[in-house]
Symmetry: C2
DNA sequence: GAGATCATAGACAGCGTGTCCAGAAACAGT
DNA sequence: ACTGTTTCTGGACACGCTGTCTATGATCTC
């Protein structure tokens, strides 16, 4: 366990991280070589290999950093109230994404053959499933929908909208507004609109 | 325009197609080389290059075949009734996916740096957006939710569940059942359950 | 300042790529 | 069954990128 990382290491790792993300967004993961990365990061090629085994390892490092960060954030928000449904966790994800939009974009686009995407999806839908189960238990209800499907659907929806939002031209719609929409969708269904009830027909 | 393709071409292209898909599912797109593909397809390496520029071209070919196929299918289903909401288009996608589950898996997992995934998502959400717009107009309602967000959310949800379903161990839950769940989710919202109304709290 | 740690250039073998060729094989139409 | 056309094939080629190693210089920490 390194207590505090050497400044040089911090600098190079950070530079490599940033270089990877921006190059991937520019050309696509497969088209980016280690030589490109070290050139963009202004780092010797040999140095790259003292930090990461290969391009894939660097990519995985980025993904797990993001995921680790996010989990810490969510832990704070999720702890207090457990059974009620607020949009808070979703809002937190959106907020986190605005802080490092490029890394999120890279992941959500499926760069790296979707490995980051899947890691994200799995982590998130596990959390979602647990939350749903807890809520069902706490409220003593019998869900009409398989919770697995529910969790997957919920997460898929979030991620799709999040990516759409991140890719939208600035100024983006306000975070709260998009999150409200998502929550509203979940509560009342997709066709909630004035004077339109899908059961009419 | 080739009227009828030479049998040899058909055979090799088919073999390459299948080889790519199964190898990608096995090892991941990046780890598959052209040499692997031709070995699995039992085809000379030189032959590969007379058909496709590179691995990427083969991948794109697979994706666009699937997408082309799907569009034809959907055209039949979408034409008759336009304003009502049946789960028919969704069901058709699921049916189509069962006919070539591996290709779908490859695409939906984000293999190929998510290019297939994005192509799929764009095509599908464009269709969804058009359908929603038409329905809103036909029913003269004022939607409470931005239709762009709606379309993205809807499609993201479908794709996530579809992948989950394809990756589920056999025997998979019946298509109709999963589709019904999705439709029900859309109609009434995510928390539709006996005795559980999210507005209670 | 001293000792530890990190960065770097350059050299190396290895692998996969994409292109070319010339001969063999399989094809479609008559 | 014959013929002209198209496709398949292995082998050879240069090239670019990879991952490893070493020796030297630079930069950190305390």
């Amino acid at each position: 366990m390194t207590v505090v990382e050497d400044r040089r290491s911090r600098r190079t790792r950070g530079a490599l991280r940033d270089a990877l993300v921006s190059l991937v967004l520019e050309r696509g993961y497969a088209a980016v070589t280690v030589e490109d990365i070290v050139a963009a990061a202004d780092v010797g090629r040999a140095t790259f290999y003292t930090h990461f085994k290969d391009k894939e390892a660097l990519y995985d490092h980025v993904v797990s950093s993001v995921l680790h960060d996010l989990k810490e954030r969510l832990a704070e928000v999720l702890a207090p109230e457990d059974a009620g449904f607020t949009g808070q966790p979703v809002a937190e994800v959106f907020r986190h994404a605005t802080e490092q939009p490029d890394a999120y974009r890279m992941i959500l686009r499926g760069e790296g053959d979707g490995r980051g995407l899947r890691a994200f999806e799995d982590a998130w839908s596990t959390t979602a499933h647990e939350t749903f189960s807890a809520r069902v238990k706490a409220n003593a209800v019998r869900p009409r929908v398989d919770l697995q499907v529910l969790a997957r659907a919920w997460v898929g929806e979030q991620m799709a909208v999040l990516l759409w939002w991140l890719d939208a031209p600035e100024p983006r719609p306000a975070t709260d507004q998009v999150v409200d929409t998502l929550v509203e969708l979940s509560r009342r269904g997709r066709f909630w609109a004035t004077g339109f009830d899908p059961d009419e027909r």
